[in-house]
Symmetry: C3
Subunit: 347 residues, 3 copies
């Protein structure tokens, strides 16, 4: 993929200043760009880099005028950051474009495969599975019995989807994530051993969800574990059986949501957070990294921190005092002495 | 799979009340059941759902009499919950029944494959490996050189078992779990770099163990990392080299057990717990989620919490006072002022 | 592999005492060794085991003289521990030696494969990928478009490397680790949903790095996520987009490094640590397990602990006082009473 500054100007509906024939074949940040790169300048504090960069083409704001001589060709647009994002996405779409069915792959005769799909070598599509149009099943991915996958989805290499799970449209699941493994349910027996509680539910993932690499989402014991529309899950996350993650909620890496807990919509949960089972977290909650949530949160849109978590501000105050604990202890000793002295003086 | 109420009555040794010919083809919770579902009522507090449910068949206690009219056919049995569990298990057994050797799969000529096994496409069985009768090796699983797997085991898609590991019978390992990866052993060198300590031991997993998805169990440096009989491990757990997990111990998601530590039998360990290396935890210990265990626990059957962990009750008390820390600090200031006043008054 | 004591003596440049014809075929710790095993005695406190062991051959220090009768043949060398390590490594090299290209595997015609490589069945090598000499790509591993892998590398079964990542030489990546999955970048939209920020950078891993099983390293948004020379990462670690891990830094299991953070050289980071985004940690820092690092660390070579982290010694003192918090509270009450009494006495 190679473009001239002239072509980029047309694509972005911008004005070219400098050599319109210079070509670029990669995208780079302005502080790192080499010859042949396309970059952008949106934040004025990065302007000094413009006078040093080797980038062949730089996208700038339409009202920008350089104060020193520059080597790069400029493409002036109304909103450089958005324009660059458009290019990024276009670049990625071309880069990740895959089509066709590679061999050897395993497609059960009772599976239904939509139009225009990619199925990589060593991918496995089980009986009764449905793969929607334009979806990409990368090599070594596994799609279990009766799994339904909508259109425009991507399962990256090594993703495993257990039987009966249901995925909507435009879902992206990164490598080695596991969807629909058994919930962790075992009934204690009188002899101290455990007997397994069969896990016959499934996982339902709605449209526009993204799931990070090595994340595990367990199937429900009965019914469904729900990942609602627009949820974004980072890597190495645990979502236990019968949990429900509300629409447009974002969860960072290594967080765990225990069984049957419900997270409201538009929540933002940091990394390494733990949420106990059978509670609800109100919509719009913001939970700081490493927090431990051990009871339901009913007030919407508040910030929480700590383990066990309290309001963000209480936690902050406690943290500050915690640092001063050794001093506090010393002060108490001083008070003790002062009082003893007062008593002595009196007597 | 479709059954009539009459057939279920015979299967469960129960009495049918209502239409014996109604059919069911799925299992559901009473509060969610639709027509065609089989459900159960064990806990009396769910009785109101019985009068609203669309379930075609509901299993109830033999001495139960409905107080309102109902649509569902009832099957009356001595213990509805157990009866339903029996059905769940039967359903799951049928659902997960797989047999035969799919192609292409890789089975080394020096591997031994038992009777009645399932080996999915793209599974890999190395030289010297032994797979016992009735075991299922799902697609894309890997069984290394000389690995021994007993009978009635299930390796779900993408499980990787490194060479020389030994698994007993009736073991279930969920997708993308890794058994026998190298222990994390590196010797610091004078120049600041590290040289690898070869990890030549293995992992031994005894009968009736279940391992969750994306869990890692490292091989011993020498000797074995042991997962004893009946242990249940959730997803995304780390078991380091030379650790030993005692029989019937249960560990929740995202917990890490460091090298050479030994967990006693019948312990219950919550999620996101960390256990340092080279310690022992007494049998029957109960460790709250997110705890950090940094020393051996010798007393059996106690509850622990916090990081670093103390007894559960101490931790609870400290947590309560911690919330009041800013108040405590204020009180100390007040005491200071009171004493200063007393002194002033005196002089 | 079977060796006589005589052969081992020659191999290690040592002196044999006892039967030179006795044979060994495995390595074991002296306290566990059975007949046919080779063991070693380096630490004098293990000497009592020498008089009980069934090991056929034991490597000892050249100036060691047994004080009791022994059954084992001794091989005396200058440094028993190093000598044993040499044997371990040799044993492992033989054990893990794999060569050739198994079928079915997928090697794109535009991939370049070096001399003397191993490519296991069901491995996938994409267009433009380069695999250096002597590297081993185990079964079910995935190497994306244009990935460069140097010489003498090992990708264990199920490793996934996304497109455009660059790996140096002598790198070991354990099963189901994922290199180059998308960074977690989403731009909030006015309607509460998120739009994906395309992640077009890559991951660069320098020479002599080891990455544990089920670890995730995300590609940079633009530019590279860097894992510098000699870094050792344990299992289940998260390295976010645009992070940089300095040379010879060691990170234990389940730790997470957030986006754009930079860890200096020769740092030692414990398990379950969290590091927030966009900070720097000075070289030689030692961070205790479960710590939360929420700001940059500028001083080199210090120890840190706690969440949020403070200096190791402060944290220790605070922990001690924290245990005494309920007592402190009681003392404050006593002081209160004492002052009230003093005031009463006065009035």
């Amino acid at each position: 993929m190679q473009f001239t500054a002239h072509q980029i100007g047309i694509l972005l509906n911008g004005t070219v200043e400098g050599n319109p024939d210079v070509t670029v074949n990669k995208l780079a940040r302005i502080e790192e760009a080499k010859a042949g790169s396309l970059s952008f300048l949106a934040n004025p504090k990065y302007e000094p880099f413009l006078y040093q960069t080797e980038a062949s083409v730089v996208i700038v704001n339409e009202d920008f005028t350089p104060s020193q001589t520059i080597q790069s060709t400029l493409v002036k647009v109304a909103d450089p950051y958005s324009a660059f994002s458009v290019l990024l996405e276009k670049y990625n779409t071309i880069r990740l474009d895959k089509k066709g069915i590679e061999t050897p792959s395993f497609i059960h005769p009772e599976a239904q495969i939509g139009a225009n799909v990619f199925i990589g070598a060593f991918a496995y599509i089980s009986a009764g599975a449905v793969i929607g149009d334009n979806s990409k099943i990368y090599p070594q991915a596994f799609v279990g019995d009766n799994v339904q996958i909508g259109s425009d989805c991507t399962l990256f290499p090594g993703v495993k989807i257990y039987s009966d799970c249901v995925l909507g449209n435009r879902i992206v699941i990164h490598s080695n994530a596991v969807i629909g493994s058994d919930g962790f349910g075992f009934a204690p027996q009188p002899d101290g051993s455990y007997s397994k509680v069969s896990q016959i539910g499934n996982v339902v993932i709605e449209d526009d969800v993204e799931v990070g690499s090595n994340t595990s989402i367990d199937r429900a014991t009965m019914g469904s574990t729900f990942i609602r529309k627009g949820v974004k899950l980072d890597n190495l996350i645990q979502i236990a059986h019968n949990a429900e993650i509300g629409a447009n909620t974002v969860i960072a890496s290594q967080t765990g949501i225990s069984g049957s807990s419900k997270i409201g919509e538009n929540a933002v949960i940091g990394g390494q957070v733990g949420v106990v089972g059978h509670i609800s977290i109100a919509k719009g909650s913001q939970i700081q990294a490493k927090s431990g949530i051990n009871r339901s949160i009913e007030e919407e849109g508040k910030k929480w921190a700590g383990a066990p978590a309290t309001s963000y501000h209480n936690n902050l105050r406690s943290q500050v005092v915690l640092q001063r604990l050794p001093d506090l202890e010393r002060k108490i000793e001083e008070l003790n002495r002062a009082i003893a002295e007062l008593k002595n003086n009196k007597s």
